[in-house]
């Protein structure tokens, strides 16, 4: 364990490495980088004790730009490497950075197991609905019909929703943010870091080169208020420029609907209160898609359970309780005989 006396509060720039940032000018990744650096500073993270692990993709270049420990691994395997890091040293604060292709195409299986095991890492999925680094092929989150170099007539695959998938994998912490919303991202990162277990964070990220404005229909300033809902545990699910839109349970159905307070007899009392421990609600919230419904942002689900690496460690410690094993004794355990 490396407990350090921290000399002085660090600033965002203290988390920036000396490497030139090499994303395309205007890429959403820049804003996320800044937000991470800022919130690490705010949460008083120790660079020495922080590890960023990534796969391959534009997003996965992230660790190079962080003045922390960093491991840029191979495509799709960051969750597996990170699991090894965390099992081997539970004291480290481990962050995984991944793209929609990295995490959900080639890496889907490792993500599944990281989540179900509940390994205590923060998993940041930069979702630009495209393969950036390989120049623009469609990804598992691309909308059906996406034209791309590999789908000139449009893709025919039904996309996967990252958060829905994470819920299906038993994730205990699910949040969603947007690249350019630094403050909200900061709040999410802080919550994710505090959560002891796998924290899954989807970050909507604009790829200016290959999928520009894929999210404009809810990220554009002009529509943001009407198409985004920032959820907070214990608070009503209210949104809209005038704060008069809300989410309620469609009467008599297992369904949510967007309503306007004051219209059709809807009152504020009808509006659901966000309960981040409710898995069913989480499933409904993550599935909301503009324009019919606002997109849910913030900490959508958080229902902690013991983390994996601690349980693993506990078994090792329990085994050690009666003293560390003696190699010479081990070799002589069971039946032996002596020749003289």
């Amino acid at each position: 364990m490396n407990v350090q006396v921290e000399p002085a509060k660090l600033k965002a720039k203290d988390f920036a490495s000396d490497q030139e940032v090499r994303w395309c000018p205007g890429c959403g990744d820049y804003a996320i980088l800044k937000a991470v650096q800022m919130s690490l500073a705010n949460m008083g993270a120790q660079p020495d004790n922080t590890v960023f692990v990534s796969g391959i993709g534009c997003a996965a270049r992230f660790p190079y730009y962080m003045e922390t420990y960093g491991f840029h691994t191979i495509h799709g395997r960051a969750p597996a490497v990170a699991s090894g890091v965390k099992i081997a040293n539970p004291e480290l604060d481990v962050w995984v950075v991944s793209g929609d292709g990295d995490a959900l195409s080639i890496g889907g299986n490792h993500l599944l197991h990281l989540l179900r095991r509940n390994v205590d890492v923060q998993f940041l999925l930069f979702n630009n609905e495209i393969y950036g680094l390989t120049k623009g092929q469609y990804s598992p989150t691309s909308q059906a019909g996406q034209k791309s170099p590999s789908t000139p007539q449009g893709s025919v695959d039904a996309p996967i929703d990252a958060c829905t998938f994470a819920l299906g994998c038993n994730a205990r912490f699910i949040a969603r943010g947007i690249d350019i919303q630094a403050k909200q991202l900061g709040d999410i990162f802080t919550r994710a870091q505090e959560h002891k277990g796998a924290s899954f964070v989807e970050i909507i990220q604009n790829c200016i080169v290959f999928n520009d404005d894929a999210f404009a229909h809810f990220t554009e300033k002009s529509v943001a208020k009407e198409t985004q809902i920032h959820v907070k545990h214990g608070e009503k699910l209210i949104y809209g420029a005038d704060g008069n839109k809300g989410i309620r349970i469609k009467p008599g159905a297992f369904e949510l609907e967007a309503v306007t307070i004051g219209e059709d007899g809807v009152t504020e009392d009808d509006i659901l209160v966000h309960d981040e421990t409710n898995r069913v609600l989480a499933n409904l919230l993550v599935a909301m898609k503009p324009p019919e419904m606002p997109i849910a942002l913030g900490v959508i689900y958080c229902d902690p359970a013991p983390s994996y690496e601690r349980a693993v460690q506990a078994q090792v410690e329990a085994s050690m309780a009666n003293g560390a094993g003696d190699m010479d004794k081990l070799l002589r355990s069971g039946n032996t005989w002596t020749v003289s």
Partner: protein, 627 residues
């Protein structure tokens, strides 16, 4: 169809194997249904044999099915043991004695028995149905099938039921003691004490009826021999004790020795182990063994697949622990990409490959040595790394320690090759003392002064190993080409050449840090060198020893360090008129050596999923020297 028969084993011109003149050793093969407890029987007999100071080697031969329908040929489980009054290094060729607990076991095994050898049958299992299931149209006891063998027919089933009658066990439970009845008989044949087995039974079943029934069966089998109900038909043999080096011994299987060697290596390196693996035959026992050694600072992780296993082991190494992963065949293939990352990031990692037979799924429970190409050359781009191979169960311990030493000292992944044969085989092992080993403590870098993640040790060319969590040493690594020293991403052509050259130089340099190649037996130069690697050690060594005794000019060279090869190996080979590689594949070491040393080399190759036999190696030697 005649399953699992290997007529290449010491065949005579008319098909049946010839009787051997090896009076100082005996080969016994137990065979029965998967449910008959053959492996336990074999294990207990081995134990008793070892305690009598006989040398021995074993060869368990499992069916591929978990528990195939009783009575079928593909459900036959076998266990072969060779023991003797001289050092035994192979489980032997054709059995002198076959104990067949049902017709299927007879069917699958009798052709391998030495002509004139002894076959003991449980007649209680030779009913119509079982005969048919085994594929015998006629009862083989009656149609002359067994005429070249001595057969002893005993209704072991009935006698076991009889012996266990006094105890409160079900008929099913009673019949399960058949193996112990048989063990008792065989123990009597070779003068083994029943004590160890009795203790074993009591430990396992406590003071229960089952325990009592089992012990009764064991004793009944023994008494059956003693009272000679078969009027002296059953031969009794006493082999002298082997002059073992003095010390404490135990039986050890390759999987055990390998697991323990990995733990010992980590102790010597002064770091804890994180072992990440995914079950696969015949690699799984290592995971099973290590998962019980958590009190040795071993953390085990059953990953979701082999890719994750390799990656998480690498992640563990990244934190400063010894990351280890293990698999076989298809699972090793899946780790390829991650191993490339280990080479590129220059992190230690040990990858254990317990080789199995056949490409793709192949024959998972059979043995082969056919991953040499995969481990030496099977990676994208130029990606050198050390490859070691263990020659016997006990040798797995030493080789595993060496793998950890090289991985940590040189900051490199290391392949450690075993195979299905040595993993499951057992041999008496002079238990080493940890104080005999020179520790090779790892020192993780902590000094920020002048730190560069890709600076290099002058002697080893290894880069520094830094534990995340170390103040002031934050840095980034990855699979993209790195600038010499700083480790920053670099697309500079000269740097790529330089780094590639450095990675090669680092691994090549290991040749100077490993023992020179020695000659196992025979002269240092001469007419013929038989070169082997891995589990063929036993048969080659025995064959060469025999041929030397017959006056042939032949030597045995056995390679542990496959990559890099010992510095003197090429010269050594040039000192022989002929070089013959004997291996269980289509010529991988053969091709590899040809590529490394500009001289003609021949091969004796076998790929039938069975260990080499002494006879075939002898024949191969004769074919070269008798011309």
């Amino acid at each position: 169809m005649n399953l699992q028969t290997d007529p290449s084993q010491g065949e005579s011109s008319d098909g049946a194997p010839l009787s051997e003149a090896d009076s100082d050793s005996v080969v016994v093969r137990f065979a029965g249904d998967s449910g008959d407890g053959i492996q336990l029987l074999g294990g207990q007999f081995s134990q008793a044999t070892a305690l009598d100071n006989n040398s021995l080697a074993t060869f368990p031969d499992f069916p591929a099915e978990i528990r195939a329908p009783t009575g079928t040929t593909y459900g036959v489980s076998a266990f072969q043991i060779k023991f003797g009054s001289r050092h035994i290094r192979t489980s032997g060729d054709a059995p002198d004695v076959l104990v067949a607990l049902n017709p299927a076991a007879l069917k699958v095994n009798y052709e391998q028995v030495l002509r004139g050898g002894l076959i003991i049958l449980d007649t209680g299992s030779f009913g119509e149905r079982n005969l048919k299931k085994a594929g015998f149209e006629v009862d083989p006891r009656e149609d002359g099938t067994l005429k070249e063998y001595r057969t002893i027919e005993i209704d072991i089933s009935a006698l076991t039921l009889e012996a266990t009658k006094p105890f409160d066990v079900t008929q099913k439970e009673a019949l399960r003691a058949k193996n112990l009845w048989t063990l008792g008989l065989v123990d009597w044949m070779y003068g083994r004490s029943l004590d160890a087995t009795e203790t074993f039974i009591t430990r396992k079943f406590g003071d229960s009826a089952i325990s009592q029934a089992n012990i009764a069966a064991l004793k009944a089998g023994h008494a059956y021999g003693e009272t000679a109900e078969v009027s002296g038909d059953i031969p009794q043999t006493r082999l002298g004790e082997v002059k073992f080096e003095s010390g404490e011994y135990r039986l050890v299987s390759g999987a055990e020795a390998l697991s323990w060697g990995l733990v010992a290596g980590c102790k010597l390196a002064g770091i804890d182990m994180t072992f990440c693996s995914y079950p696969i035959t015949p690699s799984s026992p290592i995971l099973h063994i290590l998962s019980r050694l958590k009190n040795f600072g071993v953390t085990t992780f059953q990953a979701e697949d082999e890719i994750a296993a390799a990656c998480s082991a690498l992640g563990a190494s990244y934190t400063g622990k010894m990351g280890i992963t293990a698999s076989s065949g298809p699972g090793i293939a899946l780790k390829t990409e991650a191993i490339g990352l280990a080479i590129s990031t220059e992190l230690p990692l040990v990858i254990v490959d317990t080789q199995r037979a056949g490409q793709s799924t192949g024959l998972p429970t059979k043995t082969e040595q056919s991953d040499l190409f995969l481990t030496v050359w099977g990676r994208n781009a130029d990606a050198p790394m050390p490859v070691l191979s263990a020659r016997s169960p006990g040798d797995c311990f030493e080789t595993a320690i060496e793998a950890v030493r090289l991985a940590t000292k040189y900051m490199t992944p290391v392949f450690l090759l075993s195979d299905g044969y040595i993993a499951n085989a057992a041999e008496p092992w002079l238990i080493p003392s940890m104080s005999d080993y020179e520790p090779f403590p790892v020192s993780h870098r902590t000094d920020p002064e002048g730190f560069q993640p890709f600076s290099r040790d002058d002697e080893t060319l290894a880069r520094p190993w830094v534990k995340p969590g170390t103040p002031g040493l934050m840095h980034r690594i990855g699979g993209i080409e790195k600038a010499d020293g700083s480790g920053n991403i670099s697309y500079d052509p000269d740097n790529h050449q330089l780094m590639t050259d450095l990675r090669f130089a680092k691994i090549d340099g290991i040749a100077n840090d490993i023992p020179a190649q020695t000659v196992e037996s025979g002269a240092e130069k001469g007419k013929l060198a038989v070169v082997g690697w891995g589990s063929t050690y036993g048969p080659i060594n025995r064959a060469v020893t025999r041929m030397l005794a017959e006056g042939y000019d032949v030597s045995h060279i056995h390679i542990r360090h496959i990559w890099p090869l010992p510095a003197n190996l090429i010269d050594l080979l040039h000192d022989f008129d002929e070089v013959l590689v004997a291996e269980m594949n289509k010529g991988q070491m053969l091709t590899f050596l040809r590529s490394q040393c500009g001289r003609p080399i021949e091969g004796h190759l076998k790929v039938n999923g069975q260990p080499l036999t002494i006879h075939e190696v002898q024949d191969a030697i004769r074919a070269r020297l008798d011309k």
